[in-house]
Amino acid sequence: MIKSINYTLVKKEGTMSQEVFHPNEILEKFAKNNSSRILRIKASNSLGKSFLLNLIAYASFGSSLKDEDLMLTLRNSIKEIADESDKTLEFELKIMDADGRELRFVKSKKKGSNPIVQLSNKDETKQLSVEEFTNNYKLIYDIPEKPLHRIYQIVRELKSKNQIIYRWLDQSSQKLNLIVNSLNNQKDLLKLQNWENEKLQKQKQIDHRKADYEILRKKYLTISTYNTLQLLKRNIDATKSRIKELKNCSDEFAKMQAPKEKNQDEKFQNIIQLEKQIKDLKIDEKFKFLKESLEGEYKSSFDTIDYQILSNIENLLSNYLITFKTYNQEEISKIVRVVGSFATMRLEQLIFKSVNKNKDKDEFIFVNDFKSILEEISKENFKSAVFQELFSFEIGTALEKINSYSESFNDFKKMDVDFRLFNSLLSDISKQLKEGEVLSKKLNSIRSKIKSDPIEFKRYNTLKEKIETITSDLSKLNQKARDYRNFLESSGVLKNEIESRVQIEQQIQNLQGAFQNISYSEEELNNQLEEKDKQLLDFNKEIDELSYRITHESEKKTSILSDEKSQVTFLNSKLLNFLKWIHDKDDLIKDDGLIKNENPSESDEKYIKLIGIYVASSMGNKIIYQKGYQDIQYIDYLPVTPVFITNSGMRISFSDFSGGQQSSNYLKAKLNSNDNRKYIVLFDEVANMDNESINNVVQRLKELEREKKLVLAVLVQPFPEPNKFEIETY
C-alpha cells in the first residue's frame, strides 16, 4: 500500500513557460488515509495517471526488465521520465510491503541522479541494489491490448527459457568435451611405467652387449696389431732388400756410359719394335695348336712320314725367335719349304685317309645337287605334278629319301670341314712365315748399321727402368709403413716401441701368447664386430624411440577425473543428446510464439503438450469463461486454433473468448502464481475490459494479497469527462 507520495516535476525550468507538477491531491489524501493495496484509478487525461505508473516503474528499476517482459512503448515512457535534459524530477514514494516493511523510493533533485530504494523494518534501514530489489520484488507493468494473442508472448518466454537452458548447459557441455578430449589424450602412467621398464631392460641389454663387444674388440685389436706388426716387419725387410737392390743397380748404372751415337736411340727403338713384331706373330704357338688338333682328331690316320714332317717343323720352330731375330736365312727357308710341302702333299691325304675321297666326293656333290633340284621342284605345284607323273611318286617322298641318303655322308662332311680349317691354318702360318722373313731381313739391315753394342744399350735401358721401378716400390713401401705405424699407434702401441725391426720383433713376441689364444681370424673378428655394431645401433634406435615416447607421454597432463573417464564420456554423450533434444524441441516454437504443429512426431506432440501445461500453469490453471472460472489442465496447441483443455475434459477454443475475457486471461497469466517474489503490478489502459473481467483480475490480485505476495497493484483507465480523478479500492 502507498504510505506517502510526493514528487516535483519541473519542466522548462527557469523559462517563461516553466511548469511544475505535483501529485494529485486526491491521490495524496488517499495515500494518507487508505491502506488498500489494490487501486483502480479512473482519471481524465493530463491528470498524471500514466505519469504515476511510469514513476513507480522507474523507481522500481523497470528499465532493467527484459524485452519480453516490458513493451517497447512502456520502456520508452520510463526512459522519458529518466531523461532530465529539459526537466528536473525529485520524488519520494513510500510503500509498505506485505511483511510490514517500508520501501522508500527516492530521487534527489540533482540532475542525472539515480533513484535509490531503501528497505526499512523496525531495526534497520538498508539500501537495495538493483539485483537485491529484483530478486525480491517482481514488477509487472503492462497494457492489456490484444491480450489473447499476447498469450503467445508467454510461449515466447518459454522459447527464451529454452535458450537460457541451452546456453548454460552448452557451456558445461563444451567443458565436458574438453575434459573428454584431454582424458583421451592424458598421461598414461601405466604405459609410461611400462616404457620406462622396457627402456631399462634395453639399456641393460646394451650394457651387456657393449661388454661383449669390448671383449671382441680387444681380441680384434690384438690380432690386428699382431698382423700389422708382422706386415710392418715384412715391410722393413722388403724395404731393406729393395734398398740393397737399388744400391747395386745404382752402382752398376753409375759405371755405364749412356749411348752417344746420333739417331742411335731411334734405331734401337726400331730394333725393339721389330723384335716385338716377330714375337707377336706367334708362329710357333699356332703350329703347336695345329699339330695337337690334328693329332687329337686324326691320330689313327698318321703314318711315319706325317710324324716325321710335323716333328721336323716343330723342332725348327722351337728356335723360332732366335732364327728370325738373327735372320738365319737357311733355317727360315727350310721352315717355309717344309710347311708348304706338308700343306700341299700330306694334309688332304691324312684327313681323308679313311674314305675313298674321290668317289665320296663325286657322290656327295651329286647327292647335294640332286637334293637342291628336288627342293626347287617342290616349291612349284606344276613341277611337282610333272615329277609325280614321270616317277610315279610324290616329290616329298623323293626329298625324304634323298635327305636320308645324304646323312650317310656326315663323316665325309666333317672331314671336308676339318680339311678346309687345317688348310686355312697352314696357309696362315705360311703367310706369317713370309711376313716374319721380311721383318727379320729388315731387323738385320738396321742392326748392321748400328756401331755401338745393342746389347749394352739394352742393358743400360733395362737398368734404368729397374732403378725407376725400385724407387717407386720403395715409395709405396714407405707409404705402407707409415699407414701401419699410424694404425699401430691408434691401437695403443707407442711410437717409440716400433721404431726398429728389433723393437717390432719384440712387440710381436709380446703379443704371441695372446694371438695364439684367439681362435678367429682378423676378418672373422671384424665381421663379428660389424654384426655386433649393427645390433647395438638397432638397440640404440629402439631406446631413442622409447625415450621419445616417454618424453611425449610425460608432457601430457593428468586430470583429477582420470579414473572416471568412462563416466565422464558417457555423461558427455548424454548431455549432448539432451542439448540436441532441447534444440529440436525449441525449433517447434516459432519466433512469434506460434507452434509448428504440422505432422508432429510422437515426441514433438509430448513437448507441445508440455508447452500447453506451461502456459496453463502460467495462468494459474484457471480461465474465465462464460462468467465463471474454469480449471484448465493445459492448452492443446495441436489444432489450428489452440484449445484450452479443462479438468473435466472440456475443450474451449481461443476463438470462443471475448476481448475482455482475453484481457483477463492474459493478465492472469502475467500474475504467475509460481513466482515467490512480491508483486508490484501496474496495468495501464484497462478500459477495454468489462467490469467482470477486471473483477477476475482483481480476484487474482486478492489471492496474491492473501498470500502476502502483493505490494501494490495500480490499474489505470481514462475517464471520459474532464478533470475527474477517482480511485477505487478492492
Binding site: I165, S172, L561, K574, F578, W581, I582, L610, S618
Partner: protein, 58 residues
C-alpha cells in the same frame, strides 16, 4: 513456472523418451542440475568429481 521447474519437466520428458530407468533418470537430473546451476560459468572439475563419487556410492 520457474526456469528450474521447467528444466525438470524437460529432463522428465527426455529421460522418459529415451527410456532411462528411474535410477538413471535421477542421476541424469542430478548432473543436469549441477551443470545448470553453474549458470553458464565453467564448472569446477573437483565438484563434478564429487557428484560422480556420490552417485557411485548411491
Amino acid at each position: 513456472m520457474e526456469l528450474n521447474s521447467y528444466l525438470i519437466k524437460l529432463i522428465d520428458e527426455f529421460t522418459k523418451e529415451n527410456e532411462y530407468s528411474s535410477l538413471e533418470a535421477d542421476e541424469f537430473k542430478a548432473y543436469i542440475s549441477f551443470f545448470f546451476n553453474q549458470q553458464g560459468i565453467l564448472f569446477d572439475e573437483a565438484e563434478l568429481l564429487k557428484i560422480i563419487k556420490s552417485k557411485q556410492n548411491d
